[in-house]
């Protein structure tokens, strides 16, 4: 078991999070297992942006049963017809970027402090060790509190935006929602591909897509998996510029709680550095940080998460634990 059973607010019985699909696709296998050979599959490839409709490879992989929801193109249409909404979204975008910048400034100092405490050698004296451990835990707690404050601030921006611009029943959006509801009603499963995580999340959220989705299997990989979590965490330990501090970027769609998907973890994270792994896992605990690399994945079966062979989880000890095989 990858993580303890958590409540699933969507109430779905089947969520399948997969590793990247470009080189070694496993989606068809997962679809066969959870849906079988028949039934239309709705697809979201909005993260591919202007290449959204270049889904032939995906369709071929799934035997031609894909119907692309064209979320990216729909939003482009909405922007054309509803320029006020476009402007409002631009303003929200700038505000969120500003908020992220403010958060980043505080986060860097806090992570430096937490790393410094973690690197300190444990004193021989038990009493001193207790004091150091308290400081370590406090430094970590401060980061967790900052992450939570940041999430709350982001949620506030979104809530005001939804209310001020009457997103749930805005005319330019509503008829798309009805079309999407019809398509999704006929779909046996929904596949959400990766790509640009913020573009994908913002466009999917505009349609409250998960509210339209009946209780059928949901497949997602890379950025697609990231947006379904209750928080979207972006990460890279060795970027060419900057310190490489993982950041809470967004409030996710909340299809599940308790798991933070980390696509391309082997490429993006220094998983052989126990201090970095420990810091990452402790910071986001009790969430389980799951490394989603090629041919890995986890499935929510309505009661608990189950990992594919080879799937690993970052532990608070700084190691990687294999998720249980099925």
């Amino acid at each position: 078991m990858v993580t303890k059973a958590k409540t699933n607010p969507g109430g779905w019985n089947r969520i399948v999070l997969l590793g990247p699909q470009r080189r070694k696709p496993t989606l068809a296998e997962a679809v066969a297992e959870h849906i079988g050979p028949r039934g239309m599959l709705a697809a979201i490839t909005a993260g591919w942006e202007e290449r959204e409709d270049e889904d032939q490879e995906l369709s071929d992989h799934l035997g031609g049963r894909v119907r692309n929801l064209r979320i990216h193109a729909r939003v482009e249409q909405i922007f054309e017809r509803d320029p006020k909404l476009f402007e409002a979204m631009q303003r929200r975008h700038h505000r969120l970027r500003y908020l992220q910048d403010l958060y980043r400034r505080r986060l860097g100092h806090m992570l430096d402090s937490a790393r410094e405490f973690m690197r300190l050698e444990d004193p021989e004296d038990e009493g001193e060790k207790l004091l150091l451990d308290e400081q370590r835990e406090d430094a970590m707690g401060a980061i967790r509190r900052l992450d939570e404050q940041h999430l709350a601030a982001i949620a506030g921006v979104h809530a005001r935006f939804r209310e001020n611009h009457r997103i749930p029943d805005r005319k330019s959006i509503v008829h798309h929602k009805e079309e999407l509801r019809t398509i999704l009603g006929d779909a046996a499963g929904l596949c959400i591909a990766g790509g640009h995580v913020a573009v994908l999340l913002n466009r999917v959220r505009l349609f409250d897509l998960l509210e339209l989705w009946p209780d059928r299997p949901l497949f997602a990989w890379s950025a697609g998996a990231m947006i379904l979590a209750d928080r979207t965490v972006v990460f890279h330990d060795t970027p060419p510029q900057g310190p490489g501090n993982a950041e809470v970027l967004e409030v996710g769609l909340g299809a599940f709680h308790g798991v933070i998907p980390l696509p391309h973890a082997r490429k993006r994270l220094k998983l052989d550095d126990p201090l970095r792994v420990k810091l990452f896992a402790r910071r986001f605990a009790p969430h389980a940080c799951i490394a989603l690399d090629d041919e890995t994945g986890v499935t929510w079966n309505g009661k608990r998460w189950i990992g594919r062979a080879g799937t690993e989880i970052l532990t608070v000890d700084g190691t990687l634990d294999p998720a249980r095989k099925r």
Binding site: G47, E50, R51, H196, V199, A223, H236, P239, P240, Q241
Partner: protein, 377 residues
């Protein structure tokens, strides 16, 4: 004790011991901060010829008496990269050769040099061709130039997955063919774009038939870039026509050409990547760099008096083993005073194409940050 000292500590080694010594090590032999060069053969003298500014340009090898083994030991700072040749003297004949014991070679437009990599230096893997990386394509154009009154070839790099319905930043590269051939710029672009460290971008590789004149702060070249090349590219390709998405790259005189073109049309090119710029100037009297530098020095002196704000962001790099390091260091505060966002990077290397290759990732990703944090495919 150094390996060479162990070899000679009991007197002249026998031929078999020398063969064993040479066979047991890679040369030049790096031991901590010490490098040992070796040469085996008949000669009257052997010298190391290098281009490290501040160090005598020739260093004499010693011969282990009674043998044909020559060696030279010196300290080399960590992460250094040094190009060199051996000068073998027999009678009045002086032959410059690559080090026969060293397989590492650095090529440039004039041929090739041997190269020694100090402890801590590694050829960046992002400059290699990787099989699983999507590749961009080069599309050849010939541009009729009114400014020059001739036709100019331009190679235009289109990134993998290029789409007409998307807009791209533009980078114009001076000495483009050499950057591709000797600094592996095309492979570097493919890799950095694939890794999302820079955005998918369009890159125009240009060459000059007379670079020492045209790149030496020649108004015609600046006009060619500003009035002919870039407008034509913006008509032909889907480019983001904004300064922040328009950059110039050049090394040595190519850096002068880039700075001069940006200075002539301030704000048009929002990104400059200047490597080992030949920023020679004078405070008093004449310069001593020969007549080719006359227009360069004249421009730099004028620029120092009236720099304006040529660009928004400038990434500047230089090797600490090249004579231009002092000019480059001197220019940093002046560049900063213009209001440009300036980053200056030094490396323990010389005035050569592999130094310029090794700084590309840092420079490009700073000037044109990619969507690394946002895209998870």
């Amino acid at each position: 004790m150094l390996a060479i000292r162990r070899l000679e500590k009991n007197g002249p080694p026998r031929p078999a011991e020398i063969e064993g010594f040479l066979g047991a090590h890679e040369f030049p032999l790096i031991e901590g901060r010490t490098v040992t060069f070796a040469f085996q053969g008949e000669a009257d003298e052997v010298h190391l010829r290098h281009w490290i500014y501040g160090l005598g340009s020739t260093q004499a090898f010693e011969r282990i008496s009674g043998t044909n083994l020559w060696y030279l030991v010196f300290e080399i700072p960590e992460e250094s990269r040094v190009e060199y040749k051996l000068e073998v003297v027999i009678g009045d004949q002086h032959r410059l050769i690559r080090d026969p014991l060293n397989p590492n070679v650095a090529r440039d437009p004039y041929g090739a040099n041997s190269v020694v990599h100090a402890h801590g230096y590694e050829v960046p893997e992002w400059s290699f061709e990787h099989q699983d990386v999507r590749r961009g394509k080069l599309r050849e154009h010939v541009i009729a130039s009114d400014v020059f009154g001739d036709k100019r070839p331009v190679s235009v790099y289109l990134p993998a997955r290029f789409r007409e319905n998307r807009r791209y930043p533009l980078l114009v590269v001076h000495d483009g063919s050499d950057y591709i051939r000797f600094s592996r710029l095309k492979d570097t672009l493919d890799n950095l774009i694939e890794r999302l460290e820079i955005p998918a971008m369009i890159v125009a590789f240009i060459d000059s038939p007379a670079r020492l004149q045209e790149y030496a702060a020649d108004d015609r070249h600046a006009d060619f870039l500003n009035k002919e090349l870039v407008p034509l590219l913006e008509e032909t390709y889907p480019l983001v026509a904004e300064p922040s998405a328009r950059g110039l790259l050049g090394a040595s005189f190519g850096a002068i050409a880039s700075l001069h073109a940006a200075w002539r049309n301030p704000g048009f090119f929002g990104r400059l990547l200047l490597q080992s710029g030949s920023f020679a100037f004078t405070d008093i009297g004449d310069h001593d760099r020969g007549p080719l530098f006359d227009p360069v020095v004249e421009f730099m002196n004028t620029f120092r008096e009236d720099p304006g704000r040529p660009s928004e962001k400038l990434f500047q790099s230089c090797g600490t083993y090249e004579s231009m390091i002092y000019y480059n260091r001197s220019m940093v505060p002046l560049f900063q005073s213009t209001g440009m966002d300036v980053r200056f990077v030094e490396a323990r290397d010389g005035h050569n194409w592999e130094n310029w290759r090794d700084r590309l990732r840092e420079g490009l990703s700073w000037l044109f940050p990619g969507p690394l944090w946002m895209v998870y495919e």
